[in-house]
């Protein structure tokens, strides 16, 4: 069981979100510079596919971490209240990061990458 009350969890979720955000932007930019797919393919390109995969992986990772962090919170009888506070806020931060990744990644399903 992951300990949910380590302070690193407060920032890990949104740090992962930011890293993912930079990664999809970089994938898009470098992909379009190095190997731009034909315009006619619309959103069915390797770039879109890569970004969707990265998004799905990140949402799953963040969702799992949110769940484990929530479950890893010390119960009232076994841990001090600062620990529960950290674990609960951290779990919520993971969830927020997962939702943010899902929402930001959503347009990849519809828009062509390089136009």
């Amino acid at each position: 069981m992951m300990r949910g009350d380590h302070p690193i969890h407060l920032v890990t979720g949104l740090t992962l979100w930011f890293a993912w955000f930079l990664a999809i932007y970089a994938t898009l930019s470098v992909g379009c510079a190095v190997a731009p797919p034909p315009v006619a393919t619309g959103a069915l390109t390797w770039i879109n596919a890569a970004i969707v995969l990265m998004t799905v992986a990140m949402v799953l990772l963040l969702g799992t971490l949110a769940l484990r962090c929530w479950r890893g919170a010390p119960q009232a009888e076994e841990g001090p209240r600062p620990s529960r506070f950290l674990a609960r806020v951290s779990a919520a931060a993971y969830l927020v990061a997962a939702i943010a990744a899902l929402v930001v990644g959503l347009p990849t399903m519809a828009l062509p990458p390089c136009t």
Binding site: F18, R81, V96, P107
Partner: protein, 837 residues
């Protein structure tokens, strides 16, 4: 301090130890209260300058085809208005407020790095004056507050205006970075005993997030400013397409700073709102955890929005969609805070007085600005109103609503703390209404002006295109607003003479700053209490009296040290006693030298600039010398405390935390350099890399191996030292100094022997910047190690005093990390690019 001056009265003894000297000596003061006030007063001065410029701009635009200001002067005025308001008023004033309040709110006697507070203030003051001087010399920057290239480049801005902006703002940013680092460490390591994270006042959460955002948000602009100044002064073509650069790189770096900057300004102001609303609603804020979560979320997501300022530069729609969605997502945590404030007001027993009036104004104006922000996040709408007065109206709603209104609410709320007197409702209320009505008259109408197509940054317009009456009413509104602000200034000035004497804790607040005297003594509290609640003064109304009676910790100061508790970052458990430095001239002298550097760069007197750098280095090293067991700091004595120990006798004091936070900022700057490198490779149409790197890989590897040896040995030495073994410590450190010097010499040889065409190719210019960065780190680490070796000889570093080598350790690790990363990214990766593009 002689025995004859000693006293058994704790307050008197603390007063002697924490005394602020009068007269000229006041320039050496390092107290957070004095310096926080100086930040705010200086910020108010710059606000008046920026406001005056705004009035001149509105006068010029009041009627069509006016010639009160020429196009050239108008360009300087709107550039300086934005620059002054953003860099010289908003950020420093909020920093000053945080510097003044945070130690008091967390139950500490000062921030953990008081001399850095002083250095930050002088860098701000001198940098601000340098920028302002350009206005009076008629050579102010005129490319807009975001200084877009190529307009700000040498070709289109040949005068010194851009140089004033770049050099002056970078100087001022030292101040912001200083505040960011010390506020972060102070909030994490100097809270009152028992004040765990969940007990921390929300204002401290807001400032912690802001401080960390400064740490990560300012380095991109610092790097961009350095690169642009190198381009302008030395011809290195980072932003010049012909030389393999790209002007859009400036926009990326600027807005990587610029968008978090909006939240760096908003979050402290929201902290004021979250502090005042519970006090005047007579109940705790609804949803403490939700608000903390919102603060953290805002801090992160605000870094993923920067391209929404660049929707029209021609990036792919999908990329725009990413930033558009992120821009809408960031509204959610702000909305959560707004609902928490409304719910608190809804369920509380609200006292409507002057500070609350400003909070009400904030809620109305800021929510409106937030809504137009969501509109602007939509790409098609953004395209339509880009560079129109709609954007000007939106940003003023967000910044004036989100910062100025809460700031004035906070000013009225904490005024009794500064002066011991209550503000006047008689002048204050008309002041509010004039400002509120004037502001909305100016900027609500400006949305329409923008929607009707009036572009920003035009010095005049023709009659009959539908903009005349809107501009006239906006100008009238701005003068009404100015009258309101004049009333506020009059009110505040008069209250010092005529204000009713304030009782202790006049608003019946819950936070610890109201447990001090008003005005506060330089040491804040006579004794430092245990705090196990979010609302110490509500739960323990007698706390101010018992603290003043010396019934809590650290009430004695007969040792002559300035002390505050060092606590655990999470639980608030006491870990050590932090001894703080006394008043010092060194920050002033160091910043004066830096001012000489800036002015010399502006007038292109490079030998004098070099002398300034050397002078600043000498003063900063002397500053570092007066630490730890130095006679002027905390010399070893028989009766020093051991439970808890002084921080300089441990392995984990605030200095180590300060070093790590500084390296986070430094690492951000380095990552931005890597971003620039890859960006130019990907995006610049004329980027080219030679088949063979001009920098010798063999020599670089040799220098790297030397560095690796130094760092590995340094880590081993420090590990042994912390385990209690200091045998041969001095000679080993001298040996490492010699090896570090050897590494530096080899690296210097690699740099000097490389045939870099730095004025012809941005590739080579980037390589030179990277090499200079590595040389700087190698030199600093070597010099600091030599000083440690010297301190071992003087008995200030040993197994009982292991602190300083521990502080230096992450710096060596960082130096090694960036070295090999640079070798890989700048020298090995280009080999895969296949030569000239």
């Amino acid at each position: 301090m002689t025995d004859s001056t000693r006293t058994d009265n704790p307050a008197e003894r603390l007063g002697q130890v924490w005394r602020n000297p009068p007269g000229l000596g006041a320039l050496s003061v390092v107290s957070h209260s004095s310096l926080g006030l100086r930040f705010m007063v200086t910020g108010a001065f710059f606000f008046l300058v920026g406001g005056l410029l705004a009035m001149l701009i509105r006068t010029q635009l009041a009627l069509p085809a006016q010639t009160i200001l020429s196009a050239e002067v108008y360009n300087q005025f709107f550039t300086m208005h934005g620059t002054v308001m953003m860099f010289l008023f908003a950020i420093p004033t909020l920093e000053g407020m945080a510097i003044y309040l945070i130690p008091k709110m967390i139950g500490a006697r000062d921030l953990v790095f008081p001399r850095i507070t002083s250095l930050g203030y002088y860098c701000y003051l001198f940098g601000g004056l340098i920028i302002l001087s350009s206005l009076f010399l008629g050579i102010a920057p005129d490319s807009g507050w975001f200084m877009y290239t190529p307009l700000s480049s040498q070709q289109f801005s040949p005068g010194p205006g851009s140089d004033f902006w770049l050099v002056g703002i970078t100087f001022v940013e030292i101040s912001a970075m200083a505040a960011g680092i010390e506020l972060t460490v102070s909030i994490l390591r100097a809270r009152a005993p028992g004040m765990s994270l969940r007990h921390m006042p929300l204002f401290a959460w807001y400032i912690l997030a802001t401080a960390l955002m400064i740490v990560f948000g300012f380095p991109p602009l610092i790097l961009a400013s350095i690169l642009l100044e190198l381009e302008r002064a030395a011809g290195m073509p980072f932003f010049d397409v012909a030389g393999g650069g790209d002007p859009i790189l400036w926009q990326h770096l600027f807005w990587l700073f610029g968008h978090p900057e909006v939240y760096i300004i908003f979050l402290p102001a929201a902290g004021i709102v979250s502090t005042l609303i519970p006090v005047f609603a007579r109940r705790p804020l609804v949803g403490y955890r939700w608000v903390v979560l919102s603060i953290i979320t805002t801090g992160f997501i605000s870094f993923g929005l920067w391209v929404h300022h660049m929707f029209t530069v021609g990036i792919p729609q999908l990329a725009q969609a990413f930033f558009s969605m992120a821009s809408m997502v960031v509204a959610v945590p702000t909305a959560i805070q707004t609902f928490a404030w409304l719910a608190t007001l809804w369920t509380g027993r609200v006292t409507w007085n002057l500070p609350m009036l400003w909070i009400l104004g904030f809620l109305i104006v800021f929510v409106a600005g937030g809504l137009t922000g969501v509109m602007l996040a939509l790409v098609p709408f953004n395209w339509q109103v880009h560079d129109t007065h709609f954007v000007v109206a939106h940003l003023h709603y967000v910044l004036v609503g989100g910062m100025f209104f809460p700031l004035i609410a906070g000013l009225y709320y904490w005024l009794p703390h500064l002066s011991g007197r209550m503000p006047s409702e008689r002048l204050g209320k008309p002041g509010f209404w004039l400002t509120f009505i004037g502001f909305n008259a100016t900027f609500l109408l400006m949305h329409l002006t923008g929607l009707l197509g009036m572009p920003r940054r035009v010095y005049t317009y023709e009659a009959g295109v539908g903009w005349d009456w809107l501009n006239l009413l906006s100008s009238v509104g701005s003068f009404i607003m100015a009258a309101g602000i004049a009333l506020i200034i009059l009110d505040v000035a008069l209250h010092f003479r005529f204000g009713r004497k304030a009782p202790r804790n006049p608003w019946q607040a819950d936070t610890l700053e109201w447990a001090t005297d008003t005005p506060a003594a330089p040491y804040n509290f006579i004794s430092l209490p245990d705090v196990q609640t979010r609302h110490p003064l509500w739960d323990h109304p007698d706390l101010p009296e018992s603290m003043a009676a010396g019934k809590h910790g650290l009430a004695q100061a007969n040792h002559g040290r300035r002390e505050t508790y060092g606590s655990d970052a999470i639980t608030g458990r006491i870990r050590d006693v932090i001894h703080l430095p006394g008043n010092s001239w060194l920050p002033l002298f160091a910043s004066l030298c830096l001012a000489v550097v800036c002015i010399s760069l502006l007038v292109r007197l490079y030998p004098v600039a070099l002398l300034g750098v050397l002078g600043a280095a000498v003063f900063l090293l002397r500053w570092g010398w007066e630490n730890g067991a130095h006679p002027k700091a905390a010399p070893v004595c028989a009766d020093e405390p051991s439970q808890p120990p002084l921080h300089s006798r441990t392995c984990d004091g605030p200095g180590r935390w300060g070093m790590v936070v500084t390296l986070l900022a430094n690492g951000t700057l380095y990552l931005c350099l890597l971003f620039g490198w890859f960006y130019l490779w990907t995006a610049s149409p004329h980027w080219s890399a030679p088949q063979v790197s001009p920098v010798s890989l063999t020599v670089m590897v040799l220098a790297g191996l030397l560095l690796t040896g130094v760092v590995a040995t340094y880590y081993r030495i420090v590990h042994r030292l912390t385990a209690g073994d200091d045998a041969g410590l001095g000679p080993r450190l001298w040996g490492l100094t010699a090896l570090g010097a050897a590494h530096w010499v080899v690296l210097l040889y690699a740099t000097l022997s490389a045939p870099l065409a730095v004025t012809e190719q941005s590739h080579d210019a980037m390589l030179l910047v990277m090499l200079m960065y590595l040389l700087f780190h190698g030199l600093v680490a070597t010099i600091l190690t030599a000083l440690q070796a010297w301190r071992v000889r003087l008995g200030w570093v040993n197994r009982a005093l292991p602190y300083e080598p521990v502080v230096l350790r992450p710096f060596w690790g960082y130096t090694l990390g960036i070295y090999w990363l640079s070798v890989v990214v700048f020298l090995l990766v280009p080999l895969t690019w296949g030569g000239a593009a």
